[in-house]
Symmetry: C2
Subunit: 295 residues, 2 copies
């Protein structure tokens, strides 16, 4: 095992802090306003991974004192059936946040369904308007997407200063790479957005003081791509074969942790880094939605 010199950014602990903060504020809200924040989830079909995600979201809500409303539709549900559920939830005053678990079954058209989630209940932050506003200084959107917001929280709660730093984001997806780029930009980083078509990727990433790896390729970021002292946030979750494990596989990030940790100044592990933050930020957004509903 190599010597790990980098500070380990402990997503499990930081997420637990945030969930405890949310729990306190939810209790306060119930006491002072008599309102219980509520999150509705919509799951279509029986994808086991999706079902697991939704279950863990409900469990986290319960622990935080947030009401959760689970809606499960059969895998052959029609566009109209899903739309009807979303329309009802949009109108339901006890539901402050709506989360439609993606991906949907292939026969459904995602965008018009997402558009049925009103912006003030879009706790996933997936609305294009919420995305656009992430890049506008001084006009933050009502909700930032949970995983990118989790990356920013990890940096801020670790005491990493963002302003003036060079940040390189690998991956330009609308759920992670692009929104986290915009969030770094409004926090005054100089941001470079890289992707599969980037030429000389290693030398571009080597410029970074802060690396956000969200490219979905196991162990993609190697030691030669990292400037000594860089801070590394690894959003990837990839399962690779590992004959040494009883299961025959293990989870790894987009970063070659063992090789990069001795070079970085701080780094997130996988699992236990960004992963736990997503649900913590979802709870935070749901609380925020409930607060905003009172204005």
């Amino acid at each position: 095992m190599p010597v790990i010199m980098a500070q380990l950014i402990d997503g499990v602990t930081i997420a637990a802090q945030i969930r405890a903060e949310v729990k306190d504020q939810v209790a306060e809200m119930k006491r002072t306003l008599g309102i219980t924040p509520g999150l509705a989830t919509v799951l279509v079909g029986e994808d086991p991974a999706s079902a697991t995600y939704v279950r863990s979201k409900h469990k986290a809500c319960e622990e935080a004192g947030i009401a959760s409303f689970g809606h499960v539709l059969p895998k052959d549900a029609t566009q109209e059936q899903v739309a009807a559920v979303l329309t009802e939830l949009a109108a339901n005053p006890n539901v402050h946040g709506i989360l439609m678990q993606l991906p949907l079954p292939k026969h459904l058209n995602e965008d018009p369904l997402l558009a049925l989630i009103p912006q003030h209940k879009d706790v996933d932050g997936f609305h294009p308007s919420n995305l656009g506003l992430l890049g506008v200084k001084g006009k933050p959107p009502p909700f930032a997407a949970c995983t990118p917001a989790g990356c920013i929280e990890l940096l801020e709660r670790t005491g990493v200063s963002i302003a003036g730093k060079r940040a390189v984001v690998l991956g330009r997806s609308t759920i992670v790479g692009l929104p986290v780029s915009l969030m770094l930009l409004t926090r005054d980083a100089t941001v470079t957005m890289c992707h599969s078509r980037t030429v000389n990727l290693a030398s571009v990433v080597r410029e970074a003081d802060i690396i956000i790896a969200a490219i979905g390729k196991p162990l993609f970021v190697t030691a030669d791509m990292v400037k000594p002292g860089a801070v590394v946030i690894d959003v990837g979750i990839n399962r690779i074969a590992d004959p040494s494990r009883k299961s025959g596989s293990r989870l790894v990030g987009d970063v070659d942790f063992d090789a990069v940790a001795p070079i970085a100044s701080a780094i997130t592990p996988v699992p236990g880094g960004v992963g736990p933050m997503t649900i913590a930020m979802l709870l935070k957004n749901t609380l925020k939605a409930a607060k905003q509903s009172q204005k």
Copy 2:
């Protein structure tokens, strides 16, 4: 005078081509569908620069065969009065595009007024959702903001390939820097977004194959910031003192043209580069709005 080795990117000629193309398509639309594209402008107050911009937009519409509807409100118009005009235009089927000339007088609240322009008539491309979608590959917004779209047209019609190139954008405004960054990203450039808080700006800009200068500082980009062979798009329009001119002043861009032109492979002049493109793209967006209204 230094030798200019760079190709001059002639915005006047390219804008004229686009306006001629729009004019042809407008005539075709009138002939085949009996529809005349219509642009409404809303001007509040008597700012001479704003009035001049609006006048030139009407003139350009007229030349292209586009109907234009000018609404001028007194400088002390109330929020409700401006809102009433926008609401009427939003419902008017002869108006395909609505442009509210900015900035508004200080007593008016810009965002809620902009929100009254329906997305399908937002030919300025200022809606946050239209901004967000610029960064999403495969889901272009109905309208891209005119000046950034003009920058992209200049590159594409000059034959500059964007994919895989390093682009550095100076300035992160929501009307130029940010949207042009997103448009370069979806065209597969590796994009770095710089701004007033960027550290070692010269060395960052020197990485660029394509420089977009939109920082609003006269002659800011100097020769030492430009890699030999870079393509330079200058969005700046600044008036500086020039005792050698009869007027005592002259217009310059954000780029020190005389010093940078010998190094760049292609460069836009100021005036006559990006400037004329904005109105050309506005006409193109208005035509697009009219076409989309038929679907």
